[in-house]
């Protein structure tokens, strides 16, 4: 049975069993790995930052004349390679960690929706009435997709950053003097240009991923609000039906 309600965006459906949807069952377990993966990514990025800080300390502990010389020691060039390539991909990696934790929040909200669905049916059946539930509104269909799309953007950003990080490794494998002296049309100048160009647009890209996940979270919260409104309405209907039955007796 599907009827519409003027208060709600979705219609109504009758359920026989008090259980969540498959996606909600999945969400009940998935928030834990998502949270753990997010925390692990953030912890790993702290470790990488410390290694980067050690290389930075070694590099900037030397006078500019040594750092910028054409015959700079190999260890100085190694430090610069590590610093410059890490600076390209590390921010994207950190934001992937935050994105995974936000995905855990999305799964937690889906879990709450599952609890409302199963619990609502259980309560209506306990009162001896037909168990009705809200047919999923459009926001309920969209929020898991938005969450997955946001994560895909963050992963894509990390993959591109890793490739550009590799290119930066090649470029900064040369001394500063060599890079500065690179002539127009040379491969070195071309690679330097690619690194700097990609760095410019790779900075905002992960924020689009984070924003997409946050839109998904607001859709999930809106769905929860719809479900709570439906359950309130259904409780009033049950109470009214109970009062009518009592009056008829």
């Amino acid at each position: 049975m599907t009827t519409t309600s003027e208060m709600l965006f979705g219609g109504r459906a009758v359920l026989a069993k008090p259980e969540p949807t498959t996606m909600q069952k999945l969400a009940r377990f998935m928030w834990v790995p998502m949270l753990l993966m997010g925390l692990m990514v953030i912890a790993a990025s702290v470790g990488i930052s410390i290694a980067n800080a050690a290389a930075t300390s070694d590099y900037f502990g030397l006078p500019q004349a040594v750092r910028g010389a054409a015959d700079a020691p190999a260890s100085v060039i190694d430090d610069r390679q590590f610093i410059e390539s890490t600076n390209v991909w590390l921010p994207g990696f950190q934001l992937l960690g935050i994105g995974l934790i936000l995905a855990a929040i999305t799964f937690s909200l889906a879990n709450i929706l599952g609890v409302f669905r199963a619990g609502g049916v259980r309560v209506q059946q306990a009162f001896g009435h037909e168990a009705e539930t809200l047919t999923p509104p459009i926001t309920a269909r969209l929020f898991p997709m938005l969450m997955m799309m946001g994560l895909m953007i963050l992963i894509l950003n990390l993959v591109i950053s890793a490739i550009i990080g590799g290119l930066a490794w090649d470029v900064y494998g040369h001394s500063v003097a060599e890079i500065n002296a690179a002539t127009e049309g040379s491969d070195l100048l071309g690679d330097l240009s690619t690194v700097n160009t990609f760095k410019t647009w790779l900075a905002p890209l992960p924020f689009i991923g984070i924003a997409t996940i946050l839109v998904g979270i607001s859709f999930a919260v809106h769905t929860t609000l719809q479900v709570i409104r439906f359950q309130g309405q259904r409780m009033r209907e049950l109470a009214f039906a109970g009062a009518e039955e009592g009056g008829a007796r």
Binding site: S45, S49, I50, F60, P91, S108, I112, V123
Partner: protein, 242 residues
């Protein structure tokens, strides 16, 4: 009194319906947290605007004027402000975000308090025992995660401010003087400190943000547990349980 009833998780019997002390505090705290977070973000927007004006002034000058040994006092002042602000402003912004997320955590704790209060009132009005769920582990952990996250964000901001003062000293010198600093000189040591701290401080701030967000995830898990308990309890009341 703690007991396991039917398919309910472990419960405690309450003398009267009500919120816990932490939930009472959360009811009052979410608004100041939101307000503080917004104020921090607005302040950082204003500081960002000032920094941008000074950057425009500084980069209007030719490289030799900006970086030469005879750079004027006002040029060096602008350089000092820009370089030291770049060190602490990102952490200040993340603290603003952290405060907003802490506001959400307090709001979720308020929802938990309302579920406890009104769940108890329904049971009391029906003349049955007032049962509440024994707080799950996540209920104990989420306020700690939120507070630990805020502490990390504050610590990273304090360190950033200290390092920003060192940056102020370093960039009070013309760039040509900084580039010419010899090995073992105080200026090169300070420059090294500024660069090194700048590298790992942002990661530290991200740890703080991750902890606050983890607190939100755990608070939502707690809400799911409480809702599961309350649906089951109402169903049991309908079936005539005490």
């Amino acid at each position: 009194m703690t007991q396991a009833i039917g398919s309910l998780p472990r419960t405690i019997e309450l003398r009267a319906p009500g919120m816990t002390k932490m939930q009472e505090i959360a009811k009052l705290m979410w608004l100041p947290m939101f307000a503080m977070g917004l104020m921090v973000l607005i302040a950082s927007l204003v500081i960002g605007g000032v920094e941008s004006v000074l950057s425009a002034d500084l980069f209007d000058l030719g490289k030799t004027t900006r970086e030469g040994t005879n750079a004027t006092g006002s040029t060096l002042d602008k350089q000092q402000f820009i370089e030291s602000t770049r060190l602490w402003l990102p952490r200040f912004q993340l603290l603003g975000m952290g405060l907003l997320f802490a506001g959400i955590t307090f709001l979720l704790a308020t929802i938990l308090g309302n579920l406890r209060l009104y769940g108890g009132l329904v049971q009391e009005k029906s003349g049955r025992k007032v049962l509440a769920m024994t707080p799950p582990w996540s209920a104990q952990v989420f306020p700690i995660a939120m507070m630990a996250g805020l502490m990390v964000l504050i610590v990273s901001l304090v360190i950033s401010i200290v390092v920003a003062f060192i940056a102020g000293d370093v960039y009070g010198n013309p760039i040509s003087t900084i580039n010419g600093a010899g090995a073992g000189s105080g200026l090169l040591d300070d420059f090294q400190t500024v660069k090194t701290f700048g590298t790992w401080l942002q990661s530290l701030a991200f740890v703080g943000l991750a902890l606050v967000l983890s607190g939100i995830t755990l608070a939502l898990y707690t809400i799911a547990q409480v809702l599961r308990f309350q649906h089951e309890r109402i169903a049991q009341l309908a079936e005539g349980a005490e």
